[in-house]
Symmetry: C2
Subunit: 446 residues, 2 copies
């Protein structure tokens, strides 16, 4: 413990600090940490139902509860209808990989049935995202063997930063079909990493259906907000998609890792990911009858499976819907406060409408300052603020311009931390613009 304090802690970036406003917050709670602790001590390997029945059941229960909070259609709930359900994975990327594999194999089977063989068809399967979709999507496409040239990047609208499904997506899919490609998978994002833009899920699903493509919704961060009725409309249309993932380790007080994936039909996953069940992993009871739910190993890339469901179960059971909603609303209120200050301040502009708890702002070009100089001032502002160690910001680029990201929501954050950060930002900007001026700006930091 002495070495830990002396050698490790000083080299950390403290994601748990209330002065952390970079990336997205990794929220946490006593219930989640206790859940992780107990899971680590029990240490079951829940690859099959038989290997740890309660581990599988708790995971299925937690997923169903969260699906209810999100008002997902019953089709996604393992304990309601027939075929739906889900699995808790480590990252959104894994959720993309397993659904991509399922969509890929389904497309190959369909093509094979129509043409008497799927040989050589893989390079002709096309997948679709936007220039605002997380870069991990194109990486996931590469992992499952799609041809990089068949992974389409649809331009997001300049105003909305989201996709115009009926226009661009449909046009792109039709053009691909005309040139012999097979539209296979669309990734829609609810709350993009850069600016929290929201793709129109329903419209995308309608277009994709015409072409038989799988629609996956990545709601990693903003999905957390959708447990509040006032944000739920961002998921409208989800009843027509094939799968959706969101990560309670981002905004729902559950420590890493916990990415929930729901699919309308788990058989579409297990068709591709069923492990061949060697003798030591078969699932039969003493009478030789199959027992238990779908084995978790058959809905993921690996075999071993940590007991991630426990912490999510404990978070929901401990705090309940109302406390979780209150937590989201408190973060959003703090972000609104920061947004109002930035919007009303002569030195700043808010670049895109704030939807959740992320404020995207920049130095406003004024008094003869060029856009380029405003970008430079923003870079210098971030560098100086981050060097103080009293607040940590990140940046992105929107429409070619540098934009600062102020992400509220670190678990210990209170209004006073947001106010202090605002004052630090304001004072530092004053130093830059009134003091040394842009002439004093040093090299960029990102």
């Amino acid at each position: 413990m002495e070495e830990l304090r002396a050698a490790v802690v000083p080299g950390m970036v403290h994601w748990a600090s209330p002065n952390f406003f970079a990336f997205f917050p990794a929220t946490n709670s006593a219930a989640a940490i206790a859940g992780e602790l107990i899971a680590s001590a029990m240490n079951p390997v829940g690859f099959t139902w038989l290997a740890a029945p309660a581990a599988t059941e708790v995971e299925a229960l937690a997923l169903d509860w969260l699906a209810q909070l999100l008002r997902l259609p019953p089709a996604f709930m393992g304990r309601h209808c027939g075929a739906g359900g889900g699995v808790i994975l480590g990252t959104t990327s894994e959720a993309m990989v397993v659904t991509l594999v399922a969509a890929r194999d389904a497309a190959l089977r369909r093509a094979a049935a129509g043409r008497g063989g799927s040989g050589g068809l893989l390079p002709r399967l096309a997948a679709y995202g936007t220039d605002q979709t997380h870069s991990t999507f194109s990486k996931a496409c590469r992992v499952v063997g799609l041809d990089p040239s068949s992974v389409r990047t649809i331009p997001a609208g300049a105003e909305t930063q989201c996709i115009n499904a009926h226009c661009y997506l449909k046009h792109c899919m039709q053009a691909d079909v005309d040139s012999g490609l097979v539209p296979t998978y669309v990734c829609a994002t609810v709350g993009t990493t850069s600016t929290n833009a929201v793709d129109p899920i329903g419209a995308i699903a309608d277009v994709a259906r015409e072409f038989g493509a799988w629609v996956h919704v990545d709601a990693a961060y903003a999905g957390g907000a959708c447990i509040c009725p006032e944000f739920r409309h961002h998921l409208d249309g989800v009843e027509r998609v094939d799968s959706i993932s969101m990560s309670p380790h981002k905004w729902l007080l559950t420590c890493l890792d916990c990415t929930c994936l729901w699919v309308r039909d788990t058989r579409r996953l297990t068709d591709s990911l069923l492990d061949t069940n060697p003798v030591y992993l078969v699932k039969k009871d003493a009478a030789g009858e199959p027992v238990g739910s779908t084995d978790l190993k058959d809905m993921q890339v690996g075999i071993g499976h940590r007991f991630r469901g426990l912490k999510l179960w404990m978070v929901m059971r401990t705090y309940g819907a109302s406390k979780l909603q209150q937590h989201i609303r408190s973060d959003v209120a703090m972000a609104k406060m920061f947004e109002a200050r930035a919007r009303d301040d002569e030195w700043f502009e808010v670049v895109v409408p704030r939807r959740f708890a992320l404020v995207c702002f920049r130095v406003r070009p004024r008094g003869g300052m060029t856009e380029q100089e405003a970008d430079e001032a923003g870079r210098e502002l971030m560098a100086r603020v981050n060097r103080t160690g009293k607040a940590f910001l990140a940046s992105t680029v929107v429409g070619g311009r540098l934009v600062l990201r102020f992400a509220v929501g670190s678990t210990l954050q209170e209004q006073r931390h947001v106010r202090s950060a605002w004052e630090l930002i304001k004072k530092t900007t004053a130093d830059i613009l009134q003091g040394a001026g842009t002439a004093g700006i040093q090299g960029p930091i990102h």
Copy 2:
């Protein structure tokens, strides 16, 4: 906590119980649990070096220490030579997927350079395992888009349960080349799941080199034993392979999940898995210079990365090489004790030589009993023993015959638990063979 005790705990299979002899043990320790607890509380998202420098550095350090314990060649150590290094993943399957992707893309690039394009070549890449390789290997091959018909299953020797590289592997690869396939990847296993067989790594590497195929060593379980000099010879030849993975969450007292992957050249991973580095993830210091080590996100499927290195660092720092070796040796001694009793007993036979802490035994067909009846007696023995709740065994099939697996090594196990299990097995067998006889045997349990 009350609900946990009432509703979850009774439904668990207690992997931490000293009476657990099924599958492979998931060993654990106070240091590992403390490490997981602290990592959960700090909760950094170590996707890039900049996002949590100490998280990346501790992981690299822990991997290097473990590589030293295993006497891996310096080429695999990130802090020694230039290009080597590793990453801690969740499962062996992920280690297979990332190395398969790297090998796949390298083969496609080579083929493209030689033929002016890689189009359509993917279905012709061939990968090789044996009928004793874990089934997750063929699943990993499917995930990365290899054609299932190009994933070869080499028959393992009936005696050794391992591959004859110079004969079968070489012959199979040559035949594939002759028919236009491209040998791309070989998975060698040190300690197969079924019987702990060990493939000859050096011989496989020599053959694979002739064909330019990537060799990966899966030492998930038995790699743990190789920290003891008396077992290290099982890794002979590792200096000629491309990558090796082993899981301290199996035998090195580190709770789930912790699979260590080392590669000779990390650039071969990052060539395929480099995330495109959106603006919010670039790694430059205030002067715009690149900083830090390889980002962990670029050696794995996902982006988010738990602080898994901490628990492994704490396990090694707390117990040291000698205590870890002592733990392995104590388990092996207990397995030897069980093996001797089974071998010397008229009712049992030991089916394959015990190499580590797994004993594969079965009821010996005697006194007019057929092989089939011996299998049935074994099934009934396992069913009755498992129903007592006083010991938990698993089974496998070797050479068409049912074999019981007695895996020693659950963390709390002592000689008395092994003795009790032996006595229970002995008494139950007596009941079956002398009492009700095989006529009383009920349905099979696996």
